[in-house]
Structures are given as structure tokens and as C-alpha cells.
Symmetry: C3
Subunit: 279 residues, 3 copies
């Protein structure tokens, strides 16, 4: 197998330190999860999983304001299709679940906004740490009448319990890093200037321990706490049914007019969604 260089990705900047890889998401202007980023995630995972020298992957963002904003709603068919190469079927949820069951240990180091499928991506990582005063979390899909399509309901119901999971999704609101920690959405919130070195040191510590134990631990924990494939597939189907409803289309058009899916417009997405509903 030919190993691509570390710089061959359009939307991921990869740096290697021993058996740890740092993958910075760089998809301007706002790290939308579109076909390009999905294709790169697929290629990246295939490359990394094929080489046993790699043990731990740290996902970060090159954009201080957006980790991953959410999916590109204008290209849903395309980005779903881009997952097939790895998962055999068009489903972002199954791509993310692939990461959850991978022998790789994945860590999300989160600054900036991570909403919708972005939040679902970090929920699929093995661990997630966030920068106080910077990271913002949201599952706003129900503001458009649809369920999150890539596993948020599965993860949140198991992780933070019925009432907080319902609050997060039904309110479609933003949650700062401290509240996200209190709710159990993320492992821990750290001061923004301490986050990088904390994660780096954790990643290297983990990478120094034997791979065999980590695989066993992940297997046993996933058997208890990770939703089965069918549940991810079902949510994915329900999302797709939802986006085809006229109400979704109508609300999405109204949102677009107000700046949805623009860098500036989503700095205060919570208010945008609130106003939208007043139409």
C-alpha cells in the first residue's frame, strides 16, 4: 500500500508526532461538513487504520470560531454518498460509528462552535475536551423539524440521560463548554490556553501503552454504551425523511435568508433560529 504524504488532504492538515496524529480541520469559510470534508475523513481513516504505527488521532480545528459548523444542507445527497466508500451505505452516522469502533483512539480537542453533525462527530470520538469561553455545542436540527441524523439522539440519551438529551435537542439551543461538562456531553472543560498541552500530553501517554489492552477496553465499553448499527441507520433514515418535508424546506429557505450557513450569520445561531420561528 502506498502511503500518501501527510499533506495530501484538501480539508485536513495532518501533523505526526510518533504514533499520534494531529488532524486540523480546515474547510473555510466555516468548516461545513460537506462532501470534501467527508471524503477527506474517509481517506484519512482508511490511511491511518491501515498503518499500525498510528495509535491515537487528535481532531482539532484550524478555525478558532468553528470546529465543525454542521452539514452543508445544500449538498446532503453528495456528502452522504461520500461515506459509502468506507461504510457500504450512505450514512454519516455509520461513518462516525466506524470511528467509535476503530482500533484507533480518537480525541476531539474543541474550540469554537460545534453544532449539528459536528457535535455528532465529537460524540463519536472516544473522548472530547473543550476550551472554556470558546467552545459552543448545539443540536439544532429540531428547529427545522428533523431529528439529528448522525447519532446525537443515540449518544445523548445514553450519555446525559433522558431529560437533558430532550432539553438539548428540543430547545435547539447553544450550550457553552462549562454547561456541556456539567451535563456530561463532554469529558471535561479546560482553560483555553491549557487545552492544547493537556490533550497533547494525554494523547502521547495513551499512545505509549499497549494497543492490545486498548482494543479490548474499547470493545467491552462499546458493547455496553455504543448504540447498535440499526439505531444509527434508523436515525439516519428519519433525518432523510424529515428533510424532504415541505416544512423543512420552507424553514430552511427562511433561515438561509437570515444568514444560516454563513460564517457571520451563525455566530449567534440561537437567536437566528428563534427569530425564524416568529415568521
Amino acid at each position: 500500500m502506498t502511503t500518501p504524504t501527510l499533506h495530501s488532504f484538501e480539508t485536513l492538515r495532518v501533523r505526526r508526532e510518533g504514533s499520534v496524529l494531529f488532524a486540523d480541520i480546515a474547510a473555510p469559510p466555516m468548516n461545513l461538513l460537506g462532501p470534501e470534508l467527508v471524503r477527506d475523513l474517509v481517506s484519512f481513516l482508511q490511511w491511518v487504520e491501515a498503518d499500525e504505527a498510528f495509535r491515537v488521532v487528535v481532531f482539532r480545528s484550524a478555525d478558532p470560531d468553528y470546529f465543525i459548523s454542521h452539514v452543508d444542507v445544500t449538498r446532503i445527497g453528495e456528502y452522504r454518498e461520500a461515506t459509502v466508500k468506507l461504510t457500504g451505505e450512505p450514512s454519516l452516522g455509520l461513518l462516525f460509528r466506524h470511528l467509535s469502533v476503530s482500533r484507533l483512539v480518537s480525541i476531539a480537542q474543541i474550540a469554537g462552535r460545534v453544532r449539528g453533525a459536528g457535535s455528532e462527530f465529537v460524540l463519536a470520538c472516544d473522548m472530547r475536551f473543550a476550551a472554556r469561553g470558546s467552545a459552543i455545542f448545539g443540536q439544532f436540527e429540531p428547529a427545522f423539524g428533523v431529528i439529528p441524523g448522525a447519532g446525537a439522539a443515540q449518544h445523548l440519551a445514553r450519555l446525559i440521560g433522558r431529560a437533558r438529551a430532550l432539553e438539548v435537542m428540543l430547545s435547539a439551543d447553544d450550550y457553552d463548554a462549562d454547561l456541556a461538562e456539567r451535563y456530561g456531553w463532554i469529558n471535561r472543560t479546560l482553560p483555553a490556553d491549557a487545552l492544547g498541552s493537556f490533550v497533547e500530553s494525554l494523547a502521547h501517554r495513551i499512545a505509549r501503552f499497549p494497543a492490545a489492552g486498548h482494543v479490548t477496553v474499547k470493545d467491552r465499553v462499546n458493547a455496553v454504551a455504543l448504540a447498535p448499527v440499526e439505531d444509527f441507520r434508523r436515525d439516519s433514515d428519519l433525518f432523510l425523511e424529515g428533510v424532504r418535508r415541505p416544512e423543512f424546506q420552507r424553514r430552511m429557505q427562511a433561515a438561509m435568508k437570515r444568514g444560516f450557513q454563513t460564517r457571520d450569520g451563525e455566530l449567534a445561531l440561537s437567536r437566528l433560529l428563534d427569530d425564524l420561528s416568529d415568521r
Copy 2:
């Protein structure tokens, strides 16, 4: 169907704002959950669920010291019978579970004491927010040798984990709002003077988003995090077996003499139960 006016309930004061209903529990002298309140909850739910104009229900208390104290232990047969109209069988747990699976979004805004079946009622709501320095939670049933009968064991074991669920029930003790938040019993604790406007604004925000998405989200979350009907029914049966035991009767009589089921006597219920055991 004829719609009753908003003022037709004996123990519930209902106010409407758009598609949000505010239902204040008003069953003096201490908001006991007896046949009257159960009958009103049944009628209220039937009325509200039948009208698609209603989307979100906020439950509050008209009594600053008691949200719901607990069931009226002198009328167990009666209040259970009052649930049949909605659930088909006499079980408070199944009435509460009806609320959990309803298309309605339910929010508990809690000030004052909420113990026993009161705590189970708010556990059945989709979300619960409490006033710091005011709200007090307790599942004291095991102090009388019985399991909570309306779902507390089911909810708490899933929500706050084995050890905290056991502590809460075996200790039969009071938990203030801050500790209840740390344990995950409730969504969040807010300053008492900020609670009302927070919940009001959340309820209206949720009500402005499409109903279809909310139904799907509730279905999917309930499939993971809500106990099946059989488990509620089993706890209900175990409770009933328990209250028939002589030890329950004896302890309850002793408690009644010390002020149990009186407004003043239950202000410091934790101590009353402790003293009781010293008999």
C-alpha cells in the same frame, strides 16, 4: 369534543400563552397527590392532548413550600382508581409514563418540596428545572419499607446511576436543588428569581419549532432511556404489596402521630423519619 374552559380544574390553575400552557398545582394545604389531583391531571392531559394547538405544558406550584408533597397515603386505592380512565389500569406510574410518551413537551418548574410520587411526577416530565435554596427532592418511601411505586427506581437507576440511585432511596433523605443537579436528578438549578423567566422563554422557544421533529426526538430518546411499561407496572405492584405489610402500617401510624402528611410536620421530613425509626 367540547373544550372545558381554562378554569374548570379543582386543583390545577391553567393559563394559556399561545401554544404553551402553564398549569399551577393548587391543592391546599400541601399539594398532596390524592384522587382530586389525579382526576384533574387525567382530565387536563385528555383535554390538552386532544387539541393540536397546545404544544408545551409547564407544571408549577401555587404553593411556595410544596410542589407536590407525595401521595395521600390514606387514599391509595382511590387515587390509583382515578388513573384508570387514562391508562386502563390503576397505576400512577403508568399515568406518569403516559406523560413521558405524549406528543406534548412537559417541563417541571420546581420550587418547594417535591417528594415521593411528586418527585416521580417531575421525573416523568421531559425536563425539570429547580429553584436554588427552595426546591427539595426526596424519595422517602423506603423509610416505610416500600419501593417508590410510580417509577422512581426506573428513572433514577437510568439517570443518575446505580450508586446515587441507591443512596437516594435507601437513605430516604432530602436533597437540595444544587445536589440534585450534581447528581443529574434534574436538568439544572437556577437562582429562584430567574427560574420563572428562564422556563417561560424555553417553553416558548420549543413551542415555536415544528411538532413533527419533537415527536420523533421523543420517540427515539424514549426508546433508549425510558423504562418499558412492564417495569413501571412491576414497581407499582411491589409498592402495593409493601403498603399491605404490617410493618408499613405500623410505621405509618407512628409517622402520622409525629406530623406526617401535615404541612408543618413535613417541613423537616428528614428528621421526622429519623426519629420515627428510633421508636
Copy 3:
């Protein structure tokens, strides 16, 4: 049945107050979980369970620095064999699970280090309270390439969720009492000088309430939140497979040279494990 005196255990100092027993672990020099302590735990449980006068057991440590350090890795076969008398098969996990389903209510009062099987022992207790600034928790087994063998993966995945459970085990790191509380690993952290009287008063309160209710509550909570026997057995087998691998042997020898399984060497175990990996 002849009741042994309260002082007949080699590694447990037992004191009785009414129906509450206080069992202080005293296995110098560092409260290793070896055959002696396992034998004593088995005898202690058999004795206490046989006498209905006993209701609540509080486990504490006679050593301020170590609650239970971990298993004696030089005597794995022996301590496993010592469980057979109670569980019918050689498995520490099944011994601990016996405690979880016992009619006895068990409370761990934790000061000092509690790592590996020590942490698994307190996870099997019904409740656990820790001293701020003193208690330290860790599941470091994956640093040697093995899964915790006595139930940690089962308990932690259910209790603290997928991401925190993975972090705790994959990092093999130390967690102080405050972080352990935030993660939900323990019920609560208290000031070190308040812990003893808090637990004492809780134990006596619980012991004053009827036994029948407690048995029912434990049954119902365990049915939801305690892993089945097969899962404990499977982890136990996976642990045993792991310790037979050459990599485990090699790492363990290197660790022993650096002071593993010595009182001084494990005061800063996190660093010892880190250095080990740099070999």
C-alpha cells in the same frame, strides 16, 4: 452456626455499632488485595450475611495513604482461587458482584489511593464517598495491556458514560476525589474531616429503616444498572488472557524494578507508568 468474634480477621478490623459494621482494611504495608484479604472478605461476608442483625457494612481503610492499592500481581492464581468458596468459580469480579446483590447495604468510605481492583471493589459497593484532598482513583490496568478484570469496564461504562469510561481506562491515570465526583465515579466528595461522621450518620439512618424495602430497591435498581454475571465473567477471562501475554510480563517486570507494588513507589503511580512506557 457459631459466630466468630469481631476480631478474628487477619486483614480486617471490624467494629460493631447496632446493626452497622465498620470494617477497616488493614493489610500492611499497602493494602494489596492478595489471598489473605480476599479470604477475609469471603469469611466476613459469609459471617455477616448469615446474621440478620447486621444490615449495613461500612468499608474503610486503616492506612491513610491506601484504601486498597490493587491486586497482588505476584499471586493472581492464589487470590482468584480464594474466591471460589463464595462464588463457586475463581473470579474477583463475581466476588464483588456478590456484594452488589447482597441484602447487605455496603458503603465505601474512601481516603487514600484506591486503584485497580480496589476501585472495582468500591464500584461494587452500593455507595461510595471520598475524602477531598486524599482519595485518589485509578484503573491503570491498560498501562500493562490488559482490561480491568473485576468489573470496572462494566461499572464505568454504565455509570459515567462511554467517553469518560474510555478516558479513565485508556489513560491509566490518577483521578482526584473532586474529579471523580464530577465524573460520577463516586457518589460525593466531602471534606476529609467531615467524611467519617457523614458516613456514620448515613449508615445508621439506613440501618433504622426496614430491611424489606431495601432488598426490593436493590433488586429493582440492580435489574437496570448492574451488569449480568456473564459480563463480569467475560472481563475476568479477558484479564487472565492478558496477563499471560509476554507484553504484560515484560512491562510488569520493568514496573517492579521502578517500585511498582511498593508503598513508596506507588505514591506517584501515574508518573511511574509514564516513565515505564518510555523504555
